[in-house]
């Protein structure tokens, strides 16, 4: 039975007290003595040659301390890319330089050209307006297909074309896949677009650079999901500051969804400028800047073919995708359309042959990188859409066709490198069928009809690779980083316990959930346990939070470190009770000798460790502090089955989500309430992508949807009351908690569910529509209905 604060309890989020009472400490709340402000002058054209930058008048303006340009960074490194993809021909991807400030050319609207540092922000903005730029506008490369045409304008003059890489996976299967498709009883083909998104965390990015002239140390306060990664990337690759001279602090962070993984120019600039000026330097992004400087998401153009035999078994999948990289390679950009995408193309199915071709393209747009789900939503969307289309073409039930092809035995080695360790897809579908009340659908459709609305039912299955990631594997795939996680557990003399974790909460609730795990392991009251995160000065080297990895990887490190603590405490307890170590048990915070009534309290043991008067000093060291680094043996594989019912207004094309039901397998669940919240948020984001959100560029590379006036974020009334379930999961077999991660599922599983439902609704009304691209806006639905 879950206790009120152990594993499985829906403990209320302790961090919410400060978030909801305005006492959180976000990066923008940090103001340092003597702080100056930086304003970035950004390109308003998508592509242009910088012929001159005249800062003379601006420099003479009141309050201006210094104006930085690309020339100031010439001798330093550019922003690094953390993943090298190798193409179909064994060649490394093209990796053009990504300067901190534009140099020679500007390559997207929002590309920073000058950084004006002044006493006040208004002075910096005033001075920026006095800078005279001589920029010769060049034709903008926006459309990926045109970018790859012969003679297309080059985004990077030092490259021969706009292709970053041409990747094939599994390349050895290419011929076999082609043949399977040639010989198939039926082939369903679908061309689709996975729409470009702007992540839009509630808190825009902020950076404050500081330099201590006495010690020579630099500090960067930043809105990051992974301060250690920023420290390494910025220190080693951009500014040349060794880690011991650089501290990166990411305090409370108001959402990231991936966009705060990457190392951005503004962070390097603030750190650099603080040292140059001997003044703290602060930058706070406006929402408008966020639209043109935060890494964007998705943006794939895909053709997928699904081959089936006469018995409707899937025999092969072949995909061809253009993936937009934007103007530069953001930190993990190349990995998203490849290793986080191609490896999921088997889905929940036994399809034996998969070939996935991805061509990554440079364009004059904001760089694109990981965003909630990262590659896996793109994989799931196309696969589950094409399966749905196949079911319609063949006139078979969309659930039956999926069930017929489910993987049923685990572990299961897919043809796309990954091995699923556990799962039960039939059970998920059973649960979904029961909970979504498919039996009542026909009646609900009739009710909708009476209101003049078309009701559709969409279903979807998905699997994701989470708990990122086994370092040796990702190393082989091109990662330039390890993807372990770390934790140091410190127990103080009076018994309180602090976990210093490399995971970093930016809203997930680590401060609540991590203590629940320790409470379960030790029997301590959760309020004796504190989580410390976000500061490289007091946490061990860790890789941060993304890819649904915190509890699966960070939590595992914490468990291992806690086990070390418990083992040491048992040794001390054995000494104190003059018993054999193997007889010591820890229960409810008390150490006792098995089969006796001898016991010693938690606090007596911790005190003995720090006041080691009666202590086995010859065998063990004093103190109670242990660190563990955990490198996962495999990815984790959360899976789910989702159902969505929509109502389409045939007069206006407007789509309303009427019901949304989920059945998720997250393995063991630590805090069901928080997991519900993660699913809700993911669903809202997926529904946002499916119905509302679109980063739309015109042919000149101007972002048309550059504010909330035109970029539609999902709001509370755009989503229904969700019915979610994640009970009785199949535990992960290779991590100590049996957890799989839950952060991305909603965003991965929802887009095809919604679009499948819309197509079902339209077809039920007699409209011959087999696809509508996302976002499925009223105008697009209406246009599709006009044929």
């Amino acid at each position: 039975m879950p206790k009120d604060n152990g594993i499985g309890a829906s403990t209320k989020r302790r961090e919410d007290v400060r978030f909801l009472t305005g006492t959180g400490n976000y990066t923008d709340d940090i103001n340092l003595y003597g702080q100056a402000y930086v304003h970035f002058l950004r390109s308003d054209v998508a592509h242009g040659r910088i012929n001159g930058i005249d800062t003379a008048a601006a420099e003479a303006m009141p309050g201006v301390l210094r104006i930085f340009t690309g020339a100031d960074f010439e001798a330093l490194g550019g922003l690094p890319c953390g993943w090298q993809v190798t193409d179909r021909f064994g060649q490394p991807m093209k990796e053009p330089k990504h300067p901190v400030l534009a140099h020679g050319k500007v390559r997207h609207v929002g590309d920073p050209i000058c950084a004006v540092v002044a006493e006040t922000l208004d002075q910096a903005r005033d001075a920026a307006e006095a800078i005279v730029l001589d920029i010769e506008e060049l034709p903008a490369v926006v459309d990926m297909r045109k970018a790859l045409e012969e003679g297309a304008t080059l985004v990077h003059d030092d490259l021969t074309d706009n292709l970053c890489y041409d990747w094939g996976f599994v390349e050895e299967n290419k011929e076999a896949v082609d043949e399977a498709i040639r010989n198939a009883a039926h082939v369903t083909t679908l061309e689709l677009i996975n729409n470009r998104l702007v992540p839009n965390p509630m808190e825009p990015r902020v950076a404050v650079g500081d330099f201590n002239a006495a010690s020579g140390d630099s500090t960067l306060y930043t809105t990051s999901q992974n301060p250690h990664v920023i420290r390494l990337l910025m220190g080693a690759f951009v500014l040349g500051i060794p880690e011991h001279k650089l501290r990166v602090v990411a305090p409370d962070v108001g959402g990231g969804f991936g966009s705060k993984i990457y190392h951005y120019a503004e962070e390097a600039l603030c750190t650099f400028a603080a040292k140059a000026l001997r003044r703290p330097v602060k930058w706070t992004s406006t929402r408008s800047e966020a639209f043109m400087s935060d890494a964007h998401a998705r943006d794939h153009v895909t053709k997928i073919e699904l081959a089936l035999d006469a018995d409707h078994k899937f025999t092969a999948v072949r995909t061809s995708t253009l993936a937009n990289m934007g103007a530069y390679l953001s930190t993990f950009a190349p990995s998203i359309p490849t290793w986080l995408h191609g490896t999921l193309m088997a889905g929940n199915y036994t399809t034996p042959l998969v070939y996935c071709n991805v061509r990554a393209v440079f364009t004059n747009t904001v760089p694109v990188d990981a965003y909630r789900g990262a590659g896996r939503p793109e994989a799931t969307y196309q696969l589950e859409r094409v399966i749905d289309k196949a079911a319609r073409e063949l006139g078979v039930d969309p659930i039956e066709i999926r069930r017929k092809n489910f993987v049923t035995e685990f572990p299961y080695q897919t043809p796309v490198a990954v091995e699923y360790d556990s799962g039960d897809f039939h059970r998920l579908m059973d649960k979904l069928e029961a909970r979504a009340d498919f039996a009542g659908f026909a009646a609900r459709r009739e009710e909708s009809k009476k209101k003049g609305l078309l009701r559709g039912l969409g279903i979807n299955c998905f699997i994701e690779a989470c708990g990122i990631a086994p370092s040796n594997l990702v190393g082989q795939l091109g990662a330039r980083a390890g993807l372990y996680e770390s934790a140091t557990v410190r127990v103080n003399a009076t018994g309180g316990l602090v976990v210093m974790t490399g995971s970093h909460s930016h809203g997930q609730g680590h401060e609540t959930v991590f203590p629940q795990v320790i409470a379960e392991m030790t029997g301590l009251d959760a309020n004796m346990i504190e989580i410390s995160h976000g500061d490289t000065a007091n946490t061990p080297m860790g890789m941060g939070t993304y890819g649904s990895r915190s509890i699966a990887v960070g939590g595992s490190a914490m468990v291992r470190a806690t086990e070390k603590i418990i083992n040491k405490m048992k040794k001390i307890a054995a000494h104190l009770m003059e018993a054999a170590e193997s007889d010591i048990e820890l229960r409810d915070g008390t150490f006792s000798v098995a089969g006796t009534d001898k016991s010693v309290a938690w606090g007596d043991v911790t005190l003995a460790a720090y006041v080691p008067h009666n202590y086995p000093l010859e065998d063990i060291e004093p103190g109670l502090e242990e660190t563990a680094f955990y490198d996962p043996a495999n990815f984790t594989y959360p899976a789910g089955a989702y159902a969505c019912e929509v109502e389409v207004d045939p007069e206006t094309g407007r789509v309303t989500i009427a019901r949304f039901t989920t059945a998720d397998d997250f393995g063991n669940v630590m805090n069901p309430m928080i997991v519900d919240g993660q699913v809700h948020g993911g669903l809202a984001q997926g529904i946002g992508q499916a119905l509302l959100e679109n980063a739309s560029y015109d042919e000149n590379g101007q972002l048309l949807s550059a504010s909330y006036m035109d970029y539609a974020m999902p709001r509370a009334d755009d989503v229904p009351f969700f019915s979610v379930d994640h009970s009785n999961g199949t535990p992960c077999t290779h991590n100590p908690l049996g957890v799989k991660g839950c952060g991305e599922a909603g965003a991965i599983g929802s887009t095809p569910t919604v679009v499948n439902a819309v197509v079902d609704a339209l077809q039920s009304g007699g409209y011959k529509v087999d696809h509508v691209d996302m976002p499925v806006t009223p105008s697009r639905v209406w246009a599709a209905m006009q044929g």
Partner: protein, 263 residues
């Protein structure tokens, strides 16, 4: 934002005097103007806040006319017009969110004349009179294309007079991001005929749809406008939220629905 001075007069006379200064601009609820200033898209030397002028804030009925002070917020209209002119109150209740409604004013909305704003449709469909510190302007003369009105520099909208219709309703098809009107239609039925005004759809801003007016003046029913072609010659907006053809189609749908809603 650039630096500016601010004055807070407490009477219309003082406000008009303050607006005589070079580059001075009236500040209503600030729901349009403040974002514009924040983006440095406007550079007034002085803002004259109208929010301290009590004589600009009221909703009152005089005979068959509902009079609303130019400084009255959308929220107040939503509450206080509900009894006398529910169609107008419902329109006000769907502008923006509570924060916008508690600051944004009818005078600011009509002065701004955003092509997607809601109030212009009501004013034009009702044949309202826009009263300023110096004159009275008929709605038919007031709206002169998107973001353009008959107001002179420094002129303040002090009151809007709506002849109360027998039946009326506003239907708004929301642009998904801003939730302004992608197409909004206000239908107002009077003893001497029906007036229909359309917002959101046209590059020329709010306009009257005379074909629908004629049809509905003959028979005030959804059937009367069913199948009626969307207005000719009104240059429909085409943007990422919908083509001109889609908007033209929605004008018909929203008009029909407004008639049904008006009862």
């Amino acid at each position: 934002m650039y630096g500016f001075e601010i004055e807070r007069p407490t009477s219309v006379a003082d406000a008009v005097a303050a607006l005589g200064a070079d580059e001075a601009q009236a500040l209503g609820g600030g729901q349009t103007l403040i974002p514009t200033l924040k983006q440095r898209l406007a550079m007034p030397s002085k803002l004259v806040a109208l929010s301290g002028i009590a004589e600009l804030r009221y909703v009152r009925r005089e005979g068959d006319v509902l009079k609303i002070g130019g400084g009255t917020t959308h929220g107040t209209v939503a509450r206080e017009a509900a009894g006398n002119f529910p169609g107008l109150a419902a329109l006000a209740a769907k502008i923006g969110d509570p924060a916008v409604r508690n600051r944004g004013t009818i005078g600011g909305s009509l002065a701004n004349n955003d092509p997607s704003a809601c109030y212009p449709a009501a004013a034009l469909a009702c044949g309202a009179t826009i009263v300023t510190n110096s004159r009275e302007i008929a709605a038919d003369d007031y709206f002169q294309g998107m973001f353009t009105t008959a107001l002179e520099e420094g002129e303040i909208v002090t009151e809007v007079r709506f002849p109360i219709p027998e039946k009326a309703a506003y239907t708004k098809f929301e642009q998904p991001a801003s939730r302004f009107a992608l197409v909004g239609v206000f239908v107002a039925k009077y003893a001497d005929g029906v007036r229909v005004a359309v917002t959101g759809a046209s590059n020329d801003g709010v306009f009257r749809w005379s074909a629908a007016e004629e049809a509905l003046s003959g028979s005030f029913s959804a059937d009367a406008v069913a199948g009626l072609a969307a207005p000719d010659g009104s240059d429909m907006i085409s943007d990422l939220h919908g083509s001109g053809a889609y908007r033209a189609h929605l004008v018909g749908v929203m008009t029909k629905r407004a008639v049904v809603a008006a009862g």
